[in-house]
C-alpha cells in the first residue's frame, strides 16, 4: 500500500546572525493511511519544524526548506505554488497548533472560525457552513454547540478552545491531521480528554495522525509508530510497542529510563540523560548524541551514523547496530 505521506530527505535551515542552523536535517519517514505516527524529542530537536515544513508554514526568511520532498498522496507539496499549497492546508491536511489560548482569533466568533475552512475550501455558503460547524462542535463534545457558535474565544477554557481547534482542523475531513504538541499548554486532566478526542475523531474520519509531543506517556497510549528525533535528525523509528520493549538507540533508552513508571519497583531510581541538548549551530562532527552517550565509541566522535534498518519496521542511527 502506498504511504499517504512520504517525507524524503527533508532539510530545513534557519539563518541567523549567529550563523546557519539546521533545524531539520535529512529527515525521512512515511505515514500510512489512518495510522498514528508520533514524533518525539526534546525542545529544539526539530519536531515542530518538521511538522511546519510539511505544510510549508516555516517563516521565510529566516527559515528555508533547503532539500527534500514531501509527497502527499503522491504529490510533492514543496513544489506546489501558493494557491496549490493553500488548497491542501486545512482541506486535506489539518493542522492543530500548540497554543489553544492564542490560536483562535479573539475578535471573531467561534462559529465563524470553525465555518471558515468549509467556506474557503468547499465553497459552501456561510449558512450551510455554520450548520456543519454546529455538528462539528457537537462531535468535539462542546455542550450547547448551537449557542456556542456565537461565543468568542475568551468565553472558552483552554481545553474547550483546543476542542474548537480540533473541530477547525477536521472541518473538511482531511486525510491527514498534524497535531503539534496539542496538549502542552493544557492541564494534565484535560490532556487525556483532548488526546482521546483527537484519536476518536481521527478514527471516525479515517484520518491519519502525526502527533508531535515530548511526552512519552502520550506516545505509548496513542501512537502506533514512533519516530524519535535528536538534534534535527530521526535517530530511531519503530512501532510503538517495539520501541518500548526494545529501544535500540542509546538516546531512546535514556528517554525510557528517565520516565517514572507506576508499575516498577519503587527502589529503582530514575536515570537522567547527562548533559545538555546540543547547540544546533555547533554540532559535533560525529554522532550528535556522542557527548552524552553512555556507550560512546571512538568511531562515534568522527563519523555520523545513518538511520539503518535493524529489524522489520525498526530503524536506528547508531553504530552499535550497524
Amino acid at each position: 500500500m502506498p504511504a499517504l505521506l512520504e517525507v524524503r530527505g527533508l532539510t530545513t535551515r534557519f539563518r541567523s546572525s549567529g550563523g546557519t542552523v539546521t533545524a531539520v536535517d535529512d529527515v525521512s519517514f512515511d505515514v500510512a493511511q489512518g495510522e498514528t505516527l508520533a514524533i518525539v524529542g526534546e525542545s529544539g530537536s526539530g519536531k515542530s519544524v518538521t511538522a511546519l515544513s510539511i505544510l510549508r508554514l516555516i517563516p521565510t526568511p529566516p527559515g528555508r526548506i533547503e532539500a527534500g520532498q514531501v509527497l502527499f498522496e503522491g504529490q510533492d507539496l514543496l513544489t506546489l505554488d501558493d494557491a496549490g499549497i493553500r488548497a491542501i492546508r486545512g482541506s486535506r491536511i489539518g493542522m492543530i497548533f500548540q497554543e489553544p489560548m492564542s490560536s483562535l482569533n479573539p475578535a471573531l466568533t467561534i462559529g465563524l472560525q470553525v465555518a471558515e475552512p468549509i467556506v474557503e475550501h468547499r465553497g459552501a455558503t456561510w449558512r450551510d457552513a455554520l450548520t456543519r460547524a454546529r455538528g462539528l462542535l457537537d462531535r468535539v463534545r462542546i455542550p450547547d454547540a448551537a449557542q456556542r457558535l456565537a461565543a468568542y474565544p475568551h468565553q472558552f477554557s483552554g481545553g474547550m478552545r483546543q476542542r474548537v481547534m480540533i473541530a477547525m482542523a477536521q472541518a473538511c475531513e482531511p486525510t491527514l491531521t498534524i497535531a503539534d504538541e496539542p496538549t502542552t499548554a493544557l492541564d494534565v486532566t484535560v490532556q487525556a480528554q483532548i488526546l482521546d478526542l483527537l484519536k476518536t475523531r481521527s478514527e471516525e474520519t479515517g484520518s491519519a495522525l502525526v502527533l508531535i509531543t515530548h511526552d512519552l506517556g502520550v506516545v505509548a497510549r496513542y501512537a502506533s509508530r514512533v519516530a524519535v528525533m535528536y538534534a534535527g535528525r530521526i535517530v530511531e523509528i519503530a512501532p510503538a510497542r517495539r520501541l518500548y520493549r526494545t529501544p535500540q538507540h542509546p538516546y531512546t533508552r535514556g528517554l525510557m529510563q528517565s520516565v517514572p513508571r507506576l508499575d516498577s519497583d519503587t527502589a529503582e531510581r530514575l536515570v537522567p540523560i547527562e548533559g545538555q541538548p546540543p547547540d544546533l549551530g555547533r554540532l559535533p562532527q560525529g554522532c550528535a548524541f556522542a557527548p552524552r552517550c553512555r556507550v560512546v565509541m571512538p568511531r562515534c566522535r568522527t563519523e555520523r551514523p545513518v538511520l539503518a534498518q535493524i529489524a522489520d519496521n525498526h530503524a536506528a542511527a547508531c553504530f552499535h547496530h550497524a
Binding site: 508554514l57 492546508r89 483562535l104 479573539p106 455554520l130 454546529r134 481547534m165 477547525m168
Partner: protein, 302 residues
C-alpha cells in the same frame, strides 16, 4: 430548541461583530469612566448637528448683506456682529461649520482609510513592497502638513473637492504608519499562523483576521486627525487657497477680517477663531478619550 432559533443564533454568529455588540453597553461605560471625554463628545456632536441644521439655526442667510449695519459690534439683532459688508457673523459661523466639517470628515475618511489599507498591505506582505511604501510615506510626511496641502491645492486649482483631496493626501502616511505597526504585531500572533495553517488566502487573512483588530486604532486616529484637518482647512482658507469665497468657511472669515482694517474688529476674529478652537479641542479630546477607552494600556501617553 427549534430549528428556527438555531438558525437565528447561527446567523447572529456571523452578523455580530464584537465591536458592534459592545457598542450599546460600551457607550454607557464610556460616559461613566471618562465624563470629560464624554462631555467633549457631546460638544462635538452639537457642532455636527449645528452643521446639519444650519438653515434652521442661522438667523440670516449667510450671504445676505444688511447695508444698515456694516462692521457693527454684537447687538441684539446681530449677536456676533456683522462684517464690513453687513453679513451676519453668527449665521456665517454656523454655515461655516458645514464647509469645515464636510471637508475635514471627507478628507480624514478618504486619507486615513486609504492609508490604513495601504498600511495593512504593507505590513502584511512586508519585503520590498513594504520598503518602498514606507519610503513613499516618509516622503509625504517630510513636508509640513500645511505646506504639502497648500502645494497640492494650488496645483489642482481652488475648489471644494480640491481642498478635500489635498488634505486627504496629507493624512495618508498617518493612517498607513499606525495601521502598519498594528498589523506587524498582529501578524506574529498565533491565530494568524493558525489561520494560515488552515488554508486561508492572503485576502481572507488580511480582511477577516487582521482588519477587525485595526478598527480601534483607526477610530482613535480618525477622530484625532479630524481636528488637524479642520486646522489645515481653515489655514488654507485664511491663506486664500482654500474653498473660494463668498462661501463662508471659518478660515475665509478670518481672512476677510483682515480686509476690515489694520486692526480687525474683535468680533470678526473672536467668533470664527473661537469656533475653530472649540471644534478642534472637542475632536482631539474625544479622540484621546476613545483611545483610553479602547486601549487602557495607552492611558496617559500622547
Amino acid at each position: 430548541m427549534s430549528d428556527a432559533t438555531v438558525q437565528q443564533v447561527q446567523d447572529e454568529a456571523v452578523v455580530h461583530h464584537s465591536l458592534l455588540r459592545r457598542m450599546g453597553g460600551g457607550l454607557r461605560t464610556f460616559v461613566r469612566r471618562s465624563p470629560m471625554s464624554a462631555f467633549w463628545g457631546v460638544i462635538a456632536a452639537l457642532i455636527i448637528v449645528m452643521a446639519i441644521i444650519a438653515p434652521v439655526l442661522a438667523p440670516y442667510p449667510p450671504l445676505k448683506s444688511d447695508f444698515r449695519a456694516m462692521t457693527k459690534a454684537p447687538t441684539e439683532r446681530h449677536w456676533f456682529g456683522t462684517d464690513q459688508i453687513g453679513r451676519d457673523t453668527l449665521s456665517r459661523v454656523i454655515y461655516g461649520s458645514r464647509a469645515s466639517l464636510t471637508v475635514a470628515v471627507s478628507a480624514v475618511v478618504l486619507g486615513t482609510t486609504l492609508g490604513a489599507f495601504w498600511g495593512l498591505a504593507s505590513g502584511y506582505f512586508g519585503g520590498r513592497f513594504d520598503l518602498v511604501s514606507q519610503r513613499i510615506m516618509e516622503f509625504l510626511q517630510s513636508f509640513p502638513d500645511l505646506i504639502l496641502a497648500m502645494a497640492i491645492a494650488m496645483a489642482l486649482g481652488a475648489g471644494f473637492g480640491t481642498v478635500i483631496v489635498a488634505i486627504a493626501i496629507t493624512r495618508i502616511p498617518f493612517g498607513g504608519r499606525v495601521i502598519r505597526s498594528v498589523v506587524l504585531s498582529l501578524k506574529e500572533r498565533a491565530f494568524v499562523e493558525a489561520a494560515r495553517g488552515l488554508g486561508a488566502s492572503h485576502t481572507r487573512m488580511m480582511l477577516r483576521h487582521i482588519l477587525p483588530q485595526c478598527i480601534a486604532p483607526y477610530l482613535v486616529l480618525a477622530t484625532t486627525h479630524l481636528g488637524v484637518a479642520i486646522i489645515i482647512e481653515a489655514s488654507l482658507g485664511f491663506l486664500g487657497v482654500g474653498i473660494p469665497p463668498p462661501q463662508p468657511t471659518w478660515g475665509n472669515m478670518l481672512a476677510d477680517s483682515l480686509n476690515a482694517g489694520l486692526i480687525p474688529p474683535w468680533w470678526l476674529v473672536l467668533f470664527p477663531g473661537g469656533a475653530i478652537t472649540l471644534t478642534v479641542l472637542a475632536f482631539n479630546l474625544l479622540g484621546d478619550g476613545i483611545r483610553d477607552a479602547l486601549d487602557p494600556r495607552l492611558r496617559g501617553t500622547a
